[in-house]
Subunit: 376 residues, 4 copies
């Protein structure tokens, strides 16, 4: 068994999901490589130690530059807020480390281009944690599309609806709510949520040509969690856009954190000439499928419970009817990454894949600001 020594930067929500992926991949997948939890890095040493203790990291660092220099680290996992992705990734690339970076790739396209150049110049393996590609039902959707089952595509629509910031007393900034602080997050729902929808969309339906968007910030001021000061909110609370895809289909996207009743309603639907598919994160183990070639009197949307051994990834889990959950998307991504070390083939989404998503996000924000269509 070959090892892959992991150096993790950050210990928050995403630190847990990735680490769990490293712990579980080899239990369920037959792989030649096995991740070793070498070190976790965070400025707060006490918290880093507690995290290391809970998950079994062998050591702790408080300076990410030092972590990157360590010879016993093969891969750097970047789980910091978005405004540190660039600096860390470029440094890690220069140090010859593989990089697994949390999404979105960067604060903007310019940063993303620098990062792509860095990893490509250094020739290091790189990947971005757009995890939803590896929900079995979504991977199945990809297979169905690649098999040509949908025929010519007319419509792609996706939304990501939440409701956790409706209360105007939710602060901005700091550990739990940096996603509301434009300085740490870059943007609001566009980079946080729509980026997921866009990554999946490009993967499933190809490139996006141009976009027209609208954004809204419903709560104009929020207290900053660290300073206690009331400050203008500069992120987008909600964003909708339509677009053209290279294949001629129309796209429609929406995201908000003000959709009362929706916790994390990421849905996507694709309408093709011959068939349509639909998926919903709230019941992620199901794929809805409509096949126009079915006998007309019994034609209807099929609710496919994606838990059988012949469906993506599911042969590695339990038996038909028994579902898996959110965290498994990260386990699958780790397993695929480890497999790619065996085969030598790159797997997506790479930094360059993620740069495409970044470009669409930038075009969306620019379109909303200028109230005009923008090319990607």
């Amino acid at each position: 068994m070959k090892t892959l020594n992991i150096g993790m930067i950050g210990y928050g929500f995403m630190g847990r999901t990735h680490t769990n992926g490293y712990c579980q991949a080899n239990h369920f997948f037959d792989l030649q490589y096995k991740p070793v939890l070498k070190a976790v890095c965070a400025r707060n040493e006490e918290k880093a130690k507690a995290f290391a203790q809970q998950w079994g990291y062998e050591s702790v660092e408080t300076d990410w530059r030092k972590l990157i220099e360590r010879d016993d680290i093969d891969a750097i996992d970047v789980c910091t807020p978005n405004n540190l992705h660039k600096e860390i990734s470029i440094a890690a690339a220069k140090a010859g480390k593989m990089i697994l970076c949390e999404k979105p790739l960067a604060m903007n396209t310019a940063e993303g281009e620098e990062m792509c150049k860095a990893v490509e110049d250094a020739g290091v393996r790189n990947m971005v944690w757009y995890n939803y590609r590896r929900v079995p039902a979504v991977t199945l959707a990809k297979q169905l599309i690649d098999q040509g089952r949908l025929g010519k595509i007319f419509h792609y629509r996706a939304n990501f609806l939440q409701d956790w910031t409706i209360n105007a007393d939710v602060p901005q900034g700091g550990a739990a709510t940096w996603r509301l602080d434009a300085e740490a997050a870059g943007s609001g729902v566009t980079g946080d949520l729509l980026a997921h929808c866009i990554d999946t969309a490009i993967w499933l339906n190809g490139g996006i040509t141009d976009v027209s968007a609208v954004t809204e910030t419903f709560v104009k001021e929020r207290t900053h969690a660290e300073t206690g000061e009331k400050k203008p909110v500069k992120i987008d609370d909600a964003c909708s856009f339509f677009c053209h895809f290279d294949n001629g289909s129309l796209g429609l996207f929406e995201s908000t954190r003000y959709a009362r009743g929706h916790k994390a309603l990421y849905t996507l639907e694709i309408n093709g000439e011959k068939a349509s598919i639909r998926w919903d994160l709230h019941d992620l183990h199901r794929l809805e499928y409509f096949d126009h070639s079915d006998d007309s009197v019994v034609r209807g949307w099929r609710s496919v419970h994606v838990t059988d051994g012949d469906q993506p990834y599911m042969g590695n889990w339990w038996v038909p009817g028994l579902q898996i959950g959110y965290e498994h998307t990260f386990i699958h991504q780790v397993a695929d990454f480890l497999k790619s070390l065996e085969t030598g083939e790159a797997i997506g989404p790479t930094f360059r894949d993620a740069l495409e998503t970044q470009k669409v996000c930038d075009a969306v924000l620019s379109s909303a600001a200028d109230r005009a269509w923008k090319n990607v």
Copy 2:
């Protein structure tokens, strides 16, 4: 256009559904016969007149015997409580009238047999209003079964769950609540609700051999609506039974008026070797269909929205996607009955069909009383 002169006995809930069927059938179906609302009969003349006025009956009677004697009446529609079905039907048969009798056929099998003999001796057309056979989705189920799409049947299950008698203050007896009075109704949920399930089951899956049942009366005493007296409740509040069908499949049936949250949840499901179907009155325009021959990775229950022109009855209504409702089952039954006058072919359910259901109901009640299996 030939006419069919209707004499309706009763003006309650079922009086409305049947009369609406007579009014609407010719608007939507191409028929040679047209019902004429000749007379409605009820003891309460004032209420009968109001009903006649609202629906366009030409005349009113207060004595059903007189109605039966009228030469200008072709068909008697029996919408009284169950304890009058026998007497009226036999008299009508003797008078040579066609009879359309509300379900259940009778208070018990013995009565039902007399009634069958009467209509068959007289050679008059007869029909019982088991209306759910003519929900388009249920009729479609019948077609699918007859086409052999399900293969060998293993399981048939049905339930009819309501919650309207949970409150112990609901009285028994009288106009609105005669269904809780054993003298008027014969039985409780067995004759009222399970009879529907059994009629459909026999139609779809064939005869029932033997049954084992349990009944329960949760509220032991209720005030009688007419006398104000507190009296023991003699009907069954709930009834479950299992059975064997002639084709070797197992049946499981349940009905209750104490299932909080269910208004009229009549569901049925049939599991065959090759396919399964499922239906629910609460969304009556949908049929769930599972076909094992579908490609395995996209196999799942299909939700068929039964509103297309090639699905039963729907070519006579609107356009795909636009649903019809409860009352349409009676319109379909009227249309089919009128059509049968053209073709000369009997249509079900006839009195004799309904007698089979009556026999099962009797066996169920007897089994529950004796805590033993009973042959039908």
Copy 3:
């Protein structure tokens, strides 16, 4: 009983729905006025006669001008293609007739303004058949909003998805497919489908300020049904737009006839600070309702089966659990119109209400043409 003498122009799909409304309203609603089917008018006399025969119209006209002149007609029902709405309505107004006009009001805002002026100058009652307001679940939504249950509104979204024109062999023009011919229909999905969504939206959520839209025509040429000639398709096959409402909420609308698997998927969802609601024409008797004030551990979307006597219109139909269908929306509209004759109060949607929808439709088409935001 007072009478309302109806003169119907057109006998197509909408002729049937309206006529059925006239036939049924008094069977189920307690009203002082009763419609009388005086005359139906169409250029094709034979078809008009067949229609009159089937539904009971007393007479037939082939020239709508003659119908309008008849003294025995109280109300003109306009069921023609859109390009005749203006001329007929203005003539009928001048003749002092009440007017019940099929939607959309007109070919464009300019026509609509003339029509409003005509009916208001003449002081005649007028109404437009935006029937979906009177689906019980939608009317219930209106009541919940008016009660303030949703609080401040953040998002309104609606779509109307169909799939019946995917096949490029579907012709344009003529009786069945005039909706694909820009000369008869004015626009494609915008006037046909989005107009419904917009009418409901304005009713539920107030006026629309500005819009940004995109349209697409997937099939560029279709044969004309009457000439057999291949002609460019000038209608919009698909249209999406976002908008701001006067109340500060964001709107998102989409319609298409290329969404494989959807027959008539008209859905709407409103997200408020305190509660959200959702509705779907495919299961029109249900309203989804999420109330944030519910105890958190059992909080969830409620599936409300809108069939109880205390829910809008349902006290006039059957018993809880038994659903009604599409055609009932027209019966309700007739009943409300008849009631308004008793009370003297106008009921919506009036021509002026429908003009607001027309303005939004025009802004949408103009925005799509210019790729720019447009004020309404």
Copy 4:
């Protein structure tokens, strides 16, 4: 951190689920004890070694008696076919080991009683892996019932429907299909599937008084996987029963492996005077809840997405909207067991709890054999 040294007997499907529980509990729950994977035991040494390698067991045994004698083992996990549960458990109890035994407890009640006596005489901690109690939605159901939210209970119904043995070519006996061999399994769906339903039912709704059952074996002969011989099938392919609970409610249970289209449809529903709940393993993260005290016009079944921090176990996982899956029930059971070592309080289901389920299973099989009601 204190350790709990595990000795696992068996390495099949259940060996994986339990072992995963031991690996994951401390990653997500704050506990003073931590399981250590000391040894896995199986007759096939090669397979045992492969399993040990994959999951990190420190050693391998091929004789379970030897494992039980080892001083470095604190707890024995019994994952063998049912016919070995008794012998191993009694030996382990005598050796003073804690025992975590896969369900069902035993081949029959007599065995179960011996086992209970053994663990109670020895005073060793004991637990049976009825894992479905610890689906968060099911645990929430228990809390709602204990809070009195449902009021008096009228009905409890549950089913467990599968379709994997329809094909008559599926063999009996051996590693993958010992569940079809009566000698290894004791019974068919009764012990395999209904036992789960019964355990949950007793936990949620109290003891069962008497039962009436029917069983069926659809495929009469199957080839034995090990001998290749065609032998009579002695297990029950399907079983239904009704029962009375001590609290006066009626129970209705059904299980089969011949319900085409259902992979593992374990559903339960409880109807109380004040509220009802419903759950389905196929979407295990949802609980349906109907509360009669809701305002009547917006009353409906709530679909509760049980993923919030204030719902059972979910504070230890991700964020609202992100679901967990099947394997987590075992992680929860491990976590609760470890916690019980801290608190000293026993947690269920104990051997004695499981004995109650065994008694009901025996009564069910006896009732079916004799076609008569049986007391439990």
